[in-house]
């Protein structure tokens, strides 16, 4: 594709790409530097003479220790993990079954239901959080992990269903017919033949659902109130800022540690994540 001299390759491709990568990753670098920088260095004004923003010679673990000793951070991590895992499993279960039905079965209103799923896929959480908060309170679920475990599927299921529909549609009909000719019931053909073939799709949906639950903020902010019930994003926001005072060291340490589980899951399944992401935008 690229013809021409070396300098052209650098000017038109390599340098812009390096700039993109630099800007996209710099905030994470900044998070890491701040996490390990002692308070004395952290709060030097930006125009102080010996200000050395990009490095520290006195790395410290004080902010991370503060997080575990003075706040419920470990608890928030556990809560977030638990909520993300359970809501992902629920959503996968519902999404795989619904996706299968919508993609491979003939029944009245199949088309209409498919559209309905697509529309709920597009309903943002911020549209419904106030009435939902009332409903959660009426169901006596307020301030429990179940308030999130049961509501996160509302945005995860449509997503999983939509993605799974794409995967199921790509599996040839003959595969199922063969199984049925060999005497398998419809149910068995689905469970033992079709679903195993769709495992890559299930992995993709699961990983994206997991990262989406880990990322969710407004429901967690509104439905949870006691410090030991909170998720990482909400805990960090509400417990590490007192009035106008930001505890930047612990805040960045919390942001860094709170990102690590997602980053690890992502790093193991990059290809599945990417294929899920690109599958999710196929019309």
């Amino acid at each position: 594709m690229i013809e021409g001299a070396l300098w052209r390759r650098w000017v038109f491709y390599n340098i812009p790409l390096i700039l993109f990568v630099f800007v996209l990753l710099f905030p994470f670098y900044w998070m890491i530097v701040t996490t390990f920088r002692p308070d004395g260095e952290l709060y030097l004004p930006w125009n102080a003479p010996n200000y050395m923003p990009f490095w520290t010679n006195n790395p410290t673990l004080e902010h991370i220790l503060y997080l575990f000793e003075e706040t419920n951070f470990a608890r928030w991590m556990f809560n977030t993990m638990f909520i993300a895992l359970v809501s992902t499993i629920i959503s996968l279960f519902c999404g795989v079954l619904a996706g299968y039905a919508l993609a491979r079965l003939n029944f009245p209103y199949a088309g209409g239901l498919g559209t309905a799923i697509f529309i709920t896929y597009l309903v943002p959480q911020t549209l419904l959080f106030i009435p939902l908060a009332e409903i959660i309170r009426n169901f006596q679920l307020g301030d429990t992990p179940w308030s999130l475990i049961l509501t996160y599927p509302t945005f995860l299921i449509p997503f999983c269903t939509w993605l799974m529909m794409g995967y199921f549609k790509a599996i040839p009909k003959e595969l199922e017919e063969c199984a049925r000719i060999d005497g398998a019931s419809r149910w068995k053909a689905m469970v033992y033949i079709i679903i195993p073939v769709a495992v890559p799709g299930i992995l993709s949906s699961g990983i994206i659902a997991f990262t989406l639950s880990w990322n969710e903020f407004i429901y967690a902010l509104v439905f949870l109130s006691s410090p030991d019930q909170k998720t990482v994003p909400v805990g960090v926001t509400s417990e590490l800022i007192r009035g106008d005072v930001f505890f930047w060291g612990p805040l960045m340490a919390g942001a860094l540690l709170g990102s690590i589980p997602v980053a690890i899951v992502y790093s193991f399944f990059v290809e599945h994540y990417v294929s899920g992401l690109t599958g999710s935008v196929k019309g």
């Binding site: 594709m1 812009p16 790409l17 993109f20 996209l24 905030p27 900044w30 701040t34 030097l44 930006w46 125009n47 923003p53 279960f93 079954l97 619904a98 039905a101 079965l105 029944f107 199949a110 799923i117 529309i119 709920t120 597009l122 309903v123 943002p124 959480q125 911020t126 549209l127 419904l128 106030i130 009435p131 009332e134 409903i135 049961l150 509501t151 599927p153 509302t154 299921i157 269903t161 000719i181 005497g183 019931s185 419809r186 149910w187 903020f217 407004i218 994003p233 926001t237 930047w248 960045m252 919390g254 942001a255 709170g258 990102s259 997602v262 980053a263 992502y266 990417v274 935008v281 196929k282």
Partner: protein, 309 residues
């Protein structure tokens, strides 16, 4: 079908429940039931409740009574609400244009073979997968009025002489928020558009090149039209997510300074949860609905037109 006798004979041995599942309609019903129950309970029902709430005078701890469209009249006359509407459109419009342009550029940069491509692609998506609130805090710290690393860099480069108070001025605060949204959204655009680019056969480019098309013409007449269907869906998703955004503004400014940077969601939160005016908060959130509805319908119609062309 001669073979149909076999499954029928088999199904006699199945339990009555499983036999019912042999009928596609019953099977579909069974498979869709869990989804329908959860979505009905936590989307359809809250939507209905939200409409009722917005037509009432409810506050926290006070059920209130039916007041008709009073809340909508009230927010219509509210100057903060008008700023909010304007902000939301501005925020959505500007970020979408930049995300599309930069995302497409990045996708084109990635759409070739070079060493380390897989690693770069994996790293590039980080802004999109790391929880928004957490990465936004890193930005907030970078934009901190006193300790800003951005100010430091601009100062060292000789571009500024005094500090820039990024989050203290309404326009600058909005600009900061827009920058962060673009930063977070570009990877999503780039990776999905890259997937679209990879489906375009290189032979088309070669053919166009042989016919004498210059690179820019090849992009405009070959790549862009073929990329259109993917682009439209990506834009649709992005527009909806941006329009209904909450986290970024909540963390960066909380809607301030002086309520100048509110979006629908943050203003609804401030009134509904912050000050306990549930009915008005619900009305503001619901006011997003007609806009979102129009966006979705227009986009879907357009997508259909492009796809059938």
């Amino acid at each position: 079908m001669t073979v149909s006798a076999l499954p029928a004979a088999e199904s006699k041995r199945l339990s009555p429940r499983l036999r019912k599942l042999e009928d596609e309609r019953w099977l579909a019903l069974a498979l869709l039931a869990p989804t329908a129950i959860l979505l009905g309970l936590f989307i359809a029902y809250p939507f209905f409740e939200g409409v009722m709430l917005s037509l009432s005078s409810a506050r926290v701890g006070q059920p209130g009574e039916f007041v008709g469209l009073k809340n909508f009249h009230k927010i219509w006359d509210d100057s903060i609400f008008r700023t909010t509407v304007w902000n939301t459109f501005w925020y959505t419009g500007v970020t979408t244009v930049f995300k599309l342009a930069l995302g497409l550029w990045l996708a084109i940069l990635l759409n070739r073979h070079f060493k380390g491509k897989a690693i770069i692609r994996a790293f590039i998506l980080l802004p999109f997968i790391i929880p928004t609130v957490l990465s936004t805090f890193a930005w907030k710290w970078m934009f901190d009025p006193t300790f800003s690393v951005i100010n430091w860099t601009l100062f060292q480069l000789g571009l500024i002489t005094t500090r820039i108070n990024w989050l203290g001025d309404p326009d600058l605060a909005m600009t900061s928020i827009i920058i962060i949204n673009i930063w977070r959204g570009v990877p999503f655009f780039a990776i999905t558009l890259l997937a679209g680019l990879q489906t375009i056969s290189p032979e088309l480019h070669e053919a166009a090149a042989i016919d004498g098309a210059r690179p820019w013409q090849r992009f405009w007449h070959v790549t862009w039209p073929l990329l259109m269907p993917v682009t439209l869906v990506v834009v649709l998703f992005s527009v909806i997510q941006t329009f209904a955004d909450f986290q970024l503004v909540y963390v960066m400014t909380g809607g301030g300074p002086a309520n100048a940077t509110h979006l629908f969601a943050t203003y609804a939160y401030q009134l509904g949860i912050g000050t306990g005016l549930l009915a008005e908060g619900a009305a503001i959130s619901l006011a997003m609905f007609p806009f979102l509805f129009v966006i979705v319908v227009v986009q879907l119609l357009y997508i259909r037109r492009v796809e059938t062309r």
